[in-house]
């Protein structure tokens, strides 16, 4: 078929149970948001995998670029003082 009839791609996020956040489950095609939700329900929760679904047009996602990986993520690597294990506490001190 011609590309004009191509249904857009949607990313599907499923909350597997209450108390957990939505996680990316996969994608699917749908003509609009309402159908995307329904298709997602049929496809990604047919074995009781979810209690809530988000669908997002794939084109609406802005992602960091792998080329910027170093400048984005490496600077966080040399700041161990952000982690509790950085600090030494005398033996026997509790609840800290």
């Amino acid at each position: 078929m011609s590309s004009s009839t191509d249904w857009p791609l949607w990313e599907v996020f499923v909350r597997s149970r209450r108390g957990l956040s939505h996680t990316h489950a996969g994608s699917l095609h749908a003509p609009d948001a309402e159908m995307a939700l329904r298709n997602a329900r049929d496809l990604y929760t047919r074995r009781s995998e979810g209690v809530s679904i988000w669908v997002v047009p794939s084109t609406e996602i802005t992602a960091s670029s792998p080329d910027e990986k170093d400048s984005f993520f490496e600077p966080a690597g040399d700041k161990p003082y952000r982690h509790p294990t950085f600090y030494e506490i005398p033996d026997g001190v509790k609840h800290l």
């Binding site: 249904w7 699917l28 095609h29 749908a30 003509p31 309402e34 159908m35 329904r38 298709n39 049929d42 496809l43 047919r46």
Partner: protein, 238 residues
């Protein structure tokens, strides 16, 4: 007894027809959706038929005249619009009926309470597609209208009283059910820019219809296909 057969046969036969779509749906996502509906219905059929007897004996060893399903559900799939029209007419009926059965506290209340959630989804599916086909392209509009017209004459049967499903047994008033159905279907059809058909809604034959075991010609062929393997091996288990 006859009510369980009637409802069970509706679910069994419609599930079978939807199963015929496997591998033929207009888009992959719809393969999954139609199969979900067919599986829900098959599950309902098995519970209902088991109230009456052995599910497989009932499904595979009854003759055509012993089936109590509506003629509507046995109608061949036709194109996708035809299938959606059948889904719309039936799922709205089934949803309204099961809501009433669940609330009525009768023999089918528990079963209906569980099934009504499934059926609400079937109804939503049918309504969503009716809107998209009716208000989509000129071609889809025409096809959807044709589907509604072709199946219209099978819709009156849904509101004939069934033993065990009347006001005393289960809290269902066929007349009230019918007006609720008309209201709901009219609403969807109009939103979809379609026109509610105006012709007669029942056949003119006094012998009756599906609920009396009088079916349409294609039903015999459907049963022949469905039953042939089971019947070819009498007494075998599978």
């Amino acid at each position: 007894m006859s009510a369980a057969l009637a409802l069970g046969d509706d679910a069994l036969v419609l599930s079978h027809r939807l199963g015929e779509w496997a591998g033929h749906a207009p888009v992959l996502e719809e393969e999954v959706a139609l199969a979900n509906i067919a599986l829900d219905l098959l599950g309902q059929a098995r519970v209902l038929l088991s109230l009456v007897g052995d599910e497989d004996e009932l499904a595979y060893l009854r003759e055509e005249r012993a089936f109590r399903n509506l003629q509507l559900v046995e109608q061949p799939n036709g194109d996708f619009a035809h299938t959606i029209a059948r889904q719309l007419y039936f799922s709205v009926y089934q949803h309204l009926l099961y809501e009433r059965l669940a609330a009525g506290g009768g023999e089918f209340a528990d079963l209906a309470a569980k099934a009504v959630k499934e059926v609400a989804y079937h109804r939503d599916h049918a309504e969503q597609w009716t809107l998209r086909l009716g208000d989509g392209t000129a071609e889809s509009h025409e096809r959807m209208q044709a589907g509604l017209e072709a199946l219209w004459r099978f819709t009156g049967e849904m509101f004939q009283p069934v033993e065990g499903l009347d006001a005393t047994g289960s809290g269902v008033d066929p007349e009230e059910l019918e007006s609720a159905w008309l209201l709901a279907v009219t609403g969807t059809v109009e939103r979809a820019t379609l026109t509610l058909p105006t012709g007669p809604r029942t056949g003119a034959w006094t012998a009756g219809a599906g609920r009396q075991g009088v079916h349409t010609e294609s039903f015999g062929r459907m049963l022949a296909e469905m039953q042939h393997l089971h019947r070819s091996h009498p007494g075998a288990s599978w």
